[in-house]
């Protein structure tokens, strides 16, 4: 026996926090490092088209990770999370859009906001925080619901906010697009944001909050009998996932350089949900894998939609093939592998 100072023995609290850091770091790294490697390979090929595909895919990783924080742990399928992307995107536009053009697009912005030059990173943080705050307020009422009732209520949130933003001309330019957002979202910015989203989702999952919400997911009555306040736990997850989805919206706007209300609508809702279902509803690994897989699949089909020349002939798939193939993939997953590609697996986690 030696008397050397072993931190694990000298202080149980220090040992516990070391253990906890490991429980966060290992699974996050197991997701982030492969993404990093993929990005380096793509950057080395130097193909700008490939780089932009990957950037967009990483933005979807952020959106789907946000979705997964709530859906994965609560078991409630949310049809309303794109609302938070919408809120985030517009809130960032209010702070950073297009110099003097800002008042032309959004004439009713208060003067201090119309002239503010918020640093881009801070603007993104504030915009995502607003999305999280709106989630908190909505959640106070909505998180009393469970199961299908909650899903339908969340769908109605999507409708309400779309209508509101489309008619709130002075702040949102109504149904027309706002163009000229600074396009700072490069491959590396998107990778950084995806890493942050993965870290937040992992932190939540391994925390006692995540555990308690999963207990509610498994059996709400038994969770309540175990002292868990189901409403509080759902609300915590909903707020955090609103924040991350809001961040995804911010990135999307600054990736395309333009936003409109119709971008954050049913297409994006079902695409992100399809990504989560394909990967695995109850796993963060599933969220990341699903987002990348579906994004890659869509790109492949789009190549066919544009047409491939074989000899003298142009092989061309009709427009809309993308949606049909996506639907077929989704249905096949639901029929043959309803737990998703990765199921319950979390990479880097010891069970």
């Amino acid at each position: 026996m030696t008397d050397s100072v072993d931190p694990r023995r000298s202080s149980p609290a220090a040992a516990a926090s070391l253990l906890w850091i490991g429980r966060v770091a290992r699974p996050s790294a197991a997701l982030i490092v492969p993404l990093l490697v993929l990005c380096i390979i793509i950057a080395l090929t130097g193909a700008p088209r490939l780089e932009s595909i990957m950037t967009e895919a990483l933005i979807y990783v952020v959106l789907v990770a946000g979705l997964s924080i709530f859906i994965g742990n609560s078991g409630i399928v949310s049809f309303g999370h794109v609302t938070f992307a919408l809120i985030g995107a517009y809130a960032s536009a209010w702070q950073t859009c297009c110099g003097p053009m800002r008042l032309i697009f959004m004439p009713e912005l208060p003067v201090w906001m119309a002239t503010a030059q918020v640093p881009l990173g801070l603007a993104a943080l504030l915009a995502a925080t607003l999305a999280g705050f709106v989630a908190l307020i909505l959640g106070v009422a909505l998180m009393r619901l469970s199961g299908t009732a909650a899903s339908i209520a969340l769908l109605s949130v999507l409708f309400v906010f779309k209508t509101a933003y489309e008619n709130w001309d002075g702040w949102t330019a109504g149904q027309s697009a706002i163009v000229g957002l600074p396009t700072y979202v490069t491959l590396w910015v998107a990778l950084g944001a995806a890493a942050v989203a993965i870290l937040i989702a992992t932190l939540y999952r391994v925390s006692s909050y995540g555990l308690r919400l999963r207990a509610v997911r498994e059996d709400e009555a038994a969770a309540r009998a175990s002292g868990v306040n189901a409403w509080t736990q759902k609300l915590v997850a909903f707020t955090i996932s609103g924040f991350v989805a809001g961040l995804g919206g911010v990135l999307y706007g600054h990736f395309l350089g333009t936003i409109s209300v119709s971008m954050f609508w049913l297409d994006m809702t079902f695409l992100t949900l399809a990504m989560l279902v394909v990967g695995g509803l109850r796993s963060l690994t599933g969220a990341v894998v699903g987002a990348l897989f579906v994004a890659a699949l869509r790109e492949c089909i789009q190549v066919f939609e544009r047409g491939i020349s074989v000899g003298d002939n142009l092989l061309q798939a009709p427009e809309g093939t993308r949606e049909i193939v996506l639907a077929i993939v989704l249905l096949s997953i639901l029929i043959f592998r309803p737990q998703g590609l990765v199921g319950e697996l979390e990479v880097g986690e010891r069970r």
């Binding site: 498994e218 175990s226 002292g227």
Partner: protein, 239 residues
Amino acid sequence: MSARLTTQSVTVRFHGLTALEDVSISLDQGEILGLLGPNGAGKTTLVNVLSGFTRPSGGTVKVNEIDLTRARPDVLARRGIVRTFQSVRLFQRMTVRENVQVPVFAHHAGSVEGEQAAQRALEFVGLAEESDRIAGSLPYTQERLVGIARALALEPKFLMLDEPAAGMNDVEGAQLVELIARIPAQYGCGVLLIEHNMPVVMAVCERLHVLRGGRTLASGPREEIRRNPDVIESYLGGH
């Protein structure tokens, strides 16, 4: 200080149907009270009232002088009034340890003492070895034991066990009796035991409360109940 859980004239009606009428019981910390009665007598309804899942149409639930009639289930659980379910209701896709950690985290968020409480509860029911298994993969008897450990992890003052021995064979039942009998000494809590199996009840309960048709039929020490002609006629009949 020793606490006492009481109901006073609890009545529960569902759409004109009376499930419980004027039922008064009391449970002291440290004792085991048996709750008997044929199917439909209102035993589970009474547990639902005590654990906050059903609000009574009349009457009160108190711990000492504190009225808890309208408290939510999670609040009651954190205050030490804890139940198990007849159908167990484990968190199926979580490990045994996680199942027992849920109440611990609900009580004192993630502290070292909390981890120890979870470990103690698993050791008490003899399932410390199985703590990494997925709850849904456990055999039936062990499932029931995890249910009990999950309740004990809250370190209850009052524990209500809703037919813990249901579906067990005689040997398993006997082991469970031995376990339940040790709960008051180990955890200092009062136990309300709902059970059909008469040998189990007679073995561990000093005091019994018998319900029939939602009303109290008899209440008192074990020997008295055993000789009570009403009880013998209506419930212990064929035995």
